[in-house]
Amino acid sequence: MLQNLFTDGLVIGSVYALVSVGMTVILGVLGQINFAHGEYYMAGAFAAWWAIDRLGLSYMASIPLTILIVGILSLAIGYAVMQRLVDVSFDAGIIATLGVSLLLQNTATLIFGGTYQIFDGGWLEPMRVFGEDIAQQRVLIFLVTLVVFGALEWLVRKSTFGKQMRAVSQNVECCHVLGVDVRRVVLITFILGTTLAALSGVMTAPITINIYGAMGEAITLKSFAVIVMGGMGSIGGTLVAGWVLGIMESLVAAYVGLQFRDAVAFALLVMVLMWRPSGFFSTKARY
């Protein structure tokens, strides 16, 4: 049973990490908390559902289409809202992204109706991993997460764009001086972050089944806990924090009670912050 709890926790933790890493790169580059982040997760799930249910595509084919749709959506929002947040205060950024969150959530409800849509796709057949049965989709989520984090580490450390991202996160003024196109970096980072949330949405939809407008809310709040625990701006830290949270949630759900599950994220956060005020992996970026 313990092994089961760990594998479940790792998979769920991977989902948290995948969503949160998008938020953490946006936070790093823009210095703003994105209260609407979970809405892109929701948008991803809806886009895939739409592709499967209305266009009759396969689950496989719905994934790239989802990324494309959410990419276009976040291009529009990034252009209209997020780019402008470079110049506004942290507090104002909260209001702006809260507004975007309400907008997206309720637009989805408006378009697709208030009822639950049922997601039909993915690979739910069990497979044996280390002597335990686990749905293929869960294994896939885990593997995709590993690949995405590997790619992100490479991107941020080695690629020119990644260096620009770090540069913007460390000193915006200086980026202007050196001619780094800050708005472009912000926009691309935002699209990257939101499409990762959307990817997470489409990957988990077969497991969460129910698709509805407000499904992103809870995940936004958990992402807050994860990015702070991970040490804001740290990609590896986000993955570790996501896993720790997933496993802790599983353990608490099984041994303490499911009713405490959602409090775990924040109780854990407070404890981690007591122990290390800057999270698991402090990057000392923005203070």
Binding site: L27, I33, V81, R84, V88, S89, F90, D91, A92, G93, I94, I95, A96, L98, G99, V100, S101, L102, L103, L104, Q105, N106, T107, L110, E217, L221, F224, A225, V228, M232, Q259, F260, D262, A263, A265, F266, A267, L269, V270, L273, M274, P277, S278, G279, R286, Y287
Partner: protein
């Protein structure tokens, strides 16, 4: 920082404007429908925790999202005392301010070690933890079933007195409480302690270098803001007569944030304006139930770019311009 000259005297137009607005508010029930009054009552419900948030964010520079947690604690305290002991409203109200304040003090000890985003997240965590307690301490709070039939406020010294039950009466009660809260906020920010708080907002290390006990003042701001939130909870619970863990819903926290930031953080009048405008806006949008929240979201986002310092900023600068027209010349620099 528009709005208030700390320690100084208010300018005549400010006083005149304040008196005029106060008179309008007092006379408003003569012309308003009960629905309009209810809307203002809800504005005032949010204004009380918003004043607390304004103190801690606007005057001390710490963004605490725990306000609605303390609001709920205040509400539960007020309701439980009234239900079990049949106490008059003033006593419930005082208890509703004190209990959250006493709870805030130990919570502040870990939280005050943190700054910026980590602090914000830690305060979000408090709401979740308080919510979890309210859900699972069934013996006290009846958990999710919530407390219902909370007595209406009884205005009396001890055993009897007059019971508030019409909308107009609730409105005047709210007006009185808000007036007290605004007066308390003004008193705090104009006191020497308030000057230290503003100093902390500006630069914490520099504030310490001029002898400010920064930790203590940050603690004081956190505790006082919890007391304001608790006051709001008390007014709320005796108006709605029901309280359950749904008060900890993040959407309430968001409303308080919008009231303070949208109205104008760090000003006395900003959150007052914000509470009226944003609650009224949300109500006005009920004409289009389908689009209501979509439009509300759109308005929030656009308002950030249209009024980056809150709705109050263009208003005060317009007023100031009207009172003392003054052109900037090269000698200002």
């Amino acid at each position: 920082m528009p709005g208030i000259a700390i320690g100084g005297r208010y300018a005549a137009p400010q006083v005149a404007g304040g008196v005029l607005i106060a008179a309008c508010l007092v006379l408003f029930p003569l012309v308003a429908s009960s629905y309009q009054l209810s809307t203002l009552i809800v504005s005032m419900v949010f204004l009380l925790p918003a004043i607390g948030l304004n103190l801690i964010l606007g005057y001390t520079g710490m963004l605490s999202l725990a306000q609605m947690g303390f609001f709920g604690v205040g509400g539960y305290t007020s309701a439980l005392i009234a239900m079990h002991f049949g106490t008059p409203f003033w006593l419930n109200f005082v208890a509703a301010c004190l209990v959250p304040a006493l709870l805030a003090a130990p919570l502040a000890i870990p939280a005050l070690r943190l700054r910026h985003t980590s602090f914000v997240m830690c305060t979000i965590a408090f709401v979740f933890i308080i919510e979890s307690v309210s859900k699972n301490w069934v013996g006290l709070t009846r958990g999710d079933m919530g407390l219902s039939s909370v007595p209406r406020p009884r205005i009396g010294l001890w055993s009897d007195g007059f019971i508030v039950h019409t909308t107009v009466q609730y409105y005047y009660l709210g007006l009185l409480l808000c007036a007290l809260a605004v007066a308390a906020l003004v008193a705090i920010v104009r006191s020497p302690a308030g000057r230290y708080m503003i100093a902390i907002r500006e630069d914490e290390i520099l504030a310490a270098s001029v002898g400010g006990r920064t930790w203590h003042y940050r603690l004081a701001a956190f505790v006082l803001s919890a007391a304001f939130a608790g006051a709001g909870g008390s007014y709320y619970v005796h108006y709605v007569t029901v309280i359950s863990p749904t008060v900890f819903d993040p959407s309430y926290t968001n409303t308080v944030l919008v009231v303070v930031l949208g109205g104008g953080v760090g000003t006395i009048a900003g959150p007052i304006l914000g509470s009226v405008v944003f609650v009224a806006l949300s109500e006005a949008l009920r004409i289009a139930p389908e689009l209501r929240m979509v439009v509300y979201g759109l308005v929030l986002t656009t308002s950030v770019f249209a009024f980056p310092k809150g709705l109050i900023a263009p208003l005060t600068s317009a007023l100031r311009g009207a009172v003392q027209p003054k052109a900037r010349g090269p000698h200002d620099r």
